[in-house]
Symmetry: D2
Subunit: 380 residues, 4 copies
């Protein structure tokens, strides 16, 4: 029986990479991928250490992506990597994706897809000729309530769209931008690495993608106002865009990296002739549905009233916020550390003593109630 699991290779995502954690966990979440090898870092020490941590066969760890593409292409079809996951700086996405697509690998690539539109169009052409799967990881589109919003709009629940607003506000660059040295040294503001844009490329593109996705229609034209804040800063860090959608409706896309103190405030509102829908990423389990004549309705994941597309993205019953996976993950890690005698800090996981106390609580509570609601002591 052929495995349902896909053999996956990583480009980037070494032990020192934040985005690497996210991709590694996501890849194993549904038992659909097996990480085989790759180039985890241009730093060969990190590259190797990451592979060892993942328990990989080191013969599948490569010095660079060209070597990887060449060697893997020559392997047996039962053995070779089927898909690659590209997590490198923006300017490397294009050459890497191009090489792997040309050699017949499916590609999962971080955004933005490339540095220029022409590069993106070229990738699209190769992908289509070779009939491969290509995903750009606009992660936020994976939330159950984004899926629900998309479906509700496509099913005409809010009628004809008459106004749209998509927003992505962060504040992190504020700590950098006002210091001349820092703003010169960050790679985000270096056009050679980041291309023609900082804010648009990093987060504006998420707001744009979310808008086209949930509306199920294209942005037809835009009028943009970009702000670099300092004359010696070559890239935008704050953006307001007027948009005109395919159906003629108007609205805005706004994104900024100087909303001081804001974390990751991505939100989208779509106003239709029969109602409106709003969602925000920092509280992703709530979808707000407004109408003229009924109370505000707040939809949450996992309920039968959601569409199949949304329910497919929910793994636990209603009321368990998606993050519960992370909570359980923390507990499992704590247990692993204790078993391996690495660390055993109170608070990392609930021990048998907590289990004993729980049982005592249950028995004593039943006893208190049975005896006419009297006080009962706990002593375990």
């Amino acid at each position: 029986m052929p495995s349902k699991k896909i053999r996956l290779g990583f480009i980037g995502g070494g032990n020192d990479s934040l985005i690497g954690v996210l991709h590694k966990v996501a890849a194993v979440m549904f038992d659909r991928y097996q990480i085989i090898g790759g180039v985890f870092s241009s730093n060969q020490e990190i590259n190797k250490a990451t592979a060892i941590d993942l328990g990989l066969d080191l013969s599948r760890v490569y010095n660079d992506y060209e070597e990887m593409a060449k060697v893997e292409s020559g392997l047996d079809s039962e053995k070779k990597i089927e898909a690659v996951c590209i997590l490198t700086p923006n300017f490397l996405h294009f050459p890497m994706a191009k090489t792997f697509l040309k050699n017949g690998f499916h590609v999962i690539c971080e955004k933005p897809l490339s540095i220029t539109l022409n590069e993106a169009l070229e990738l699209r052409d190769i992908k289509e000729s070779n009939n491969l799967v290509f995903a750009v990881t606009h992660t936020y589109t994976g939330y159950p309530m984004v899926r629900q919003m998309t479906k509700m709009i496509s099913e005409d629940v809010i009628g004809e769209i008459q106004r749209v607003d998509s927003t992505y506000f962060q504040g992190w660059i504020n700590d950098i931008i006002h210091d001349k040295d820092q703003r010169k040294s960050t790679w985000r503001l270096n056009p050679e690495v980041s291309g023609i844009s900082s804010c648009l490329a990093d987060i504006g593109t998420h707001a744009f993608n979310m808008l086209e996705l949930v509306c199920g229609m294209k942005v037809k034209k835009i009028l943009a106002d970009l702000n670099n804040l300092y004359d010696d800063n070559p890239l935008d860090i704050d953006v307001s865009v007027l948009v005109r959608m395919e159906n003629g409706c108007k609205g805005t896309i706004r994104s900024t990296q100087i909303a001081t103190g804001l974390e990751n405030s991505l939100s989208i509102s779509v106003y239709g002739s029969k109602g409106s829908l709003a969602w925000e990423q920092e509280n992703p389990n709530y979808l707000y549905h407004y109408t003229s004549d009924k109370p505000l309705q707040v939809l949450k994941p996992g309920h039968a009233y959601n569409t199949n597309l949304s329910l497919d993205g929910t793994k636990l019953p209603a009321g368990h916020p998606e993050g519960i996976f992370d909570a359980m993950g923390n507990i499992y890690r704590g247990v692993a550390r204790a078993i391996r005698l690495e660390k055993n800090e109170k608070g990392e996981f609930p021990t048998i003593q907590e289990g004993v106390r729980g049982m005592e609580f249950i028995e004593k509570a039943v006893k208190s109630n049975k005896n006419g609601n009297i006080w009962v002591e706990l002593d375990s």
Copy 2:
């Protein structure tokens, strides 16, 4: 080099089990466990199918837990399962945990630990004699902001505790309880399977555990008022408990399964002489810190102002709600389905076309701005 990974066996958690999904994802989240085998279901078809989905060596899949304990105990120390994860109905926790502890396996066990307090005490004794790790999966204790709350209280941020309230409200049993047939047939209300309690054992024990954990002190005595609602229902489904803590302070534990329409509303508030802290599980990224003379402070995960214990439980920068792992997991699954030609529904993952559009948005926005904020069309 010995693997950092722990060889893990499952008892329960077959393909048809919700809680199984949670444990499997959590186990792999930090690359610290490798699932080796076990008894995934008493239904042998599900047992086998689960093992195949996990890509396991079928020789490590057993018909029952006794066989598993026996065979695994006899294996090489480099090969045998090191820890077992018990996800079976409540009344089976005790015999299973006892067997594996006696044979030298670490145990991760779902709550409640057992059916009676005596069983729990017996397990604690064996665990301590054999010097093993034993975790009871009170999942909610794994949240970064619960860890933060626990640490802040232990570090005297809110002073002497002077009132406590821990609450766990659900509504799911309402759909069952008012129908005589249904309330007779659900295993939750069957004392033979569930022991002496429904609501206390299922969720009250979480509220109790959370209270002792975050306060860093024991509940000294309790006075309980239980409600079965119907005379022919033998178990509590609604509970109010007065508590007296070790330091003499007063408060309540309340839990119910008849709060119609509520999902999973676990919350804890601790009031001290210098301030108060409150947290709720349905919005787990927010910790509220109240004082008399300053504005309400809202703490969120991942910021440098958090304690190390909290930061250790956060995997991504501030503003990325923990559930983002789940969102990315959904995308990876969609890609896997597309690669395997199983399914390819629009909305399951962002394709290269979305990447192309993103690049066009960036270039055209920069162009609009450069030309004095004029309209520019998008046509890719």
Copy 3:
């Protein structure tokens, strides 16, 4: 034509009284009362100054309540005060209310009604014999969404009530209670002035009243756990009460004055067989309606979907929070100060300059749009 306005007398509520402000504004809000006179303070200077501020005929201002009752009783029926408003310390409510009731005045009295239950019963007897109107100002019952909640429950929207929780948490006494001198000197903790209770009498009674009101049924019995925190403090400052309602359902009333940092957190939740309702005083415009099978519904004042009783308590269209009256009041006061040349601080009210700017904004925005979305300068 007889005036619709009721001639009202005040006992207490002088210029130094916070609660006085609330009653005076409420009395005039719907043009149904005319304040005629009274005893505004036992301090005769404050008494007189208040009357002058109110523009009253000083012959209707009295030295004490006995004099007031005597003189007013003797006046012409067209002229004499019809109703009195009692805003004095708790222990004075009873003798004052008794005196005025006996003399045929309607009474509006702050809570708690009296110091003992016997006093309260006596007042009820007199009121009923004399066929007078008597209101106890449980202010919170006046909110439109409390009225809506009450009506929805009486109309069986949530079915049979199966659990109730009413809560009133404040933190103000925390700043006093830990200091021996302060806790000895505050009148709230002095049994001679406050009676047998501090927390119960001050706020617990609101939580109790709200519970009986919205449920439309009585509390049948209670089991209470009171906390004085210090041995030398004679009165409760923290309370947990188990309740049994008339229909047998269970629940809690909790109130405290040591929830450090909390302001005025009154909330009520009622769980029924068909759904649940929840409301909290600090965000009084939201009523939450939970059911098993539909999204959470959030009701707000002023919408046609509300009951008549609720709509009757809403003065402006939906979306104007009730506090808008206060905002407008602040502006009017600023204007008055400017006219009287008392004060004219920027920010107290919007001047004609703001009006001019507003007009320029409108004209220039229309101009920008008309010319193809170009930049237009504002220069007024």
Copy 4:
């Protein structure tokens, strides 16, 4: 002693006017105004009925504003109206305000100030020549937390402003706009009555005013995109504006009347180099203060940490939302109706029975506690 009270005349605000209620209550809220007379409606029946309800001397009620201005101007300075309050349709603001200003009356005028910018400038000139007070009732500026936000920004709490967003979203016109007959007949969309704009003039101007107020600086230039939605609708109902502030910073003003289901969603966010502030009108008691390195701070009215300007606008202790005045007002009205035997519906005000029950609750709770936490029955 001259009265502190200002003699006020109304133009508009008859019994059938919603905005009239707001102005009448605000005027009396601080005992600073006495309503003397005016022209409450062009419908003479309503005009008179309103005056009678207010208990006014009918000789001060006029047929039209010209008559009113003429007669009042001739009265004794001790007797004549000092200030007028103009609450008529937009196109009448200018001639009325002009007439009263010319005759030496202070003016309180609803927004928008006029139909054209030229009219507004003319009013400003007259007002300044005659040295009168002129207020435009941008009501929302009266909220304590708007005052707090304004002051914090002027005191450099958030540093140099680097981005601004002001928003006013409503949905009410959606029910009208899609029906050809309705959109032709509403006065809001009739240029002869409303001038050159609907959405900008009605609500956009509030968003604009709020922006200039809280930032303490002017908008320098704008680029606007207006939407009429239908070709036969002559006025804007949806607006997006790019702004450039005096200090060069960028941002947006957005206002719409087609955000279906939204009520009155006015909000303002100001992002500075040291932090950010955000406020929204539908939850006016919360001011959000974001910084890079500390937890989010939530400021609320009435606390000592607020500025004097803010505290001056707060009438009750912290935790009493401003709307409590309205709640108390509802109770007073209910009592008035009962006294006048007009109506006496349960739920309109708490009666003595509720007071008795409250006393019983207190006594019985103390008794339960004193006897070791036993059940005690309530029977009053």
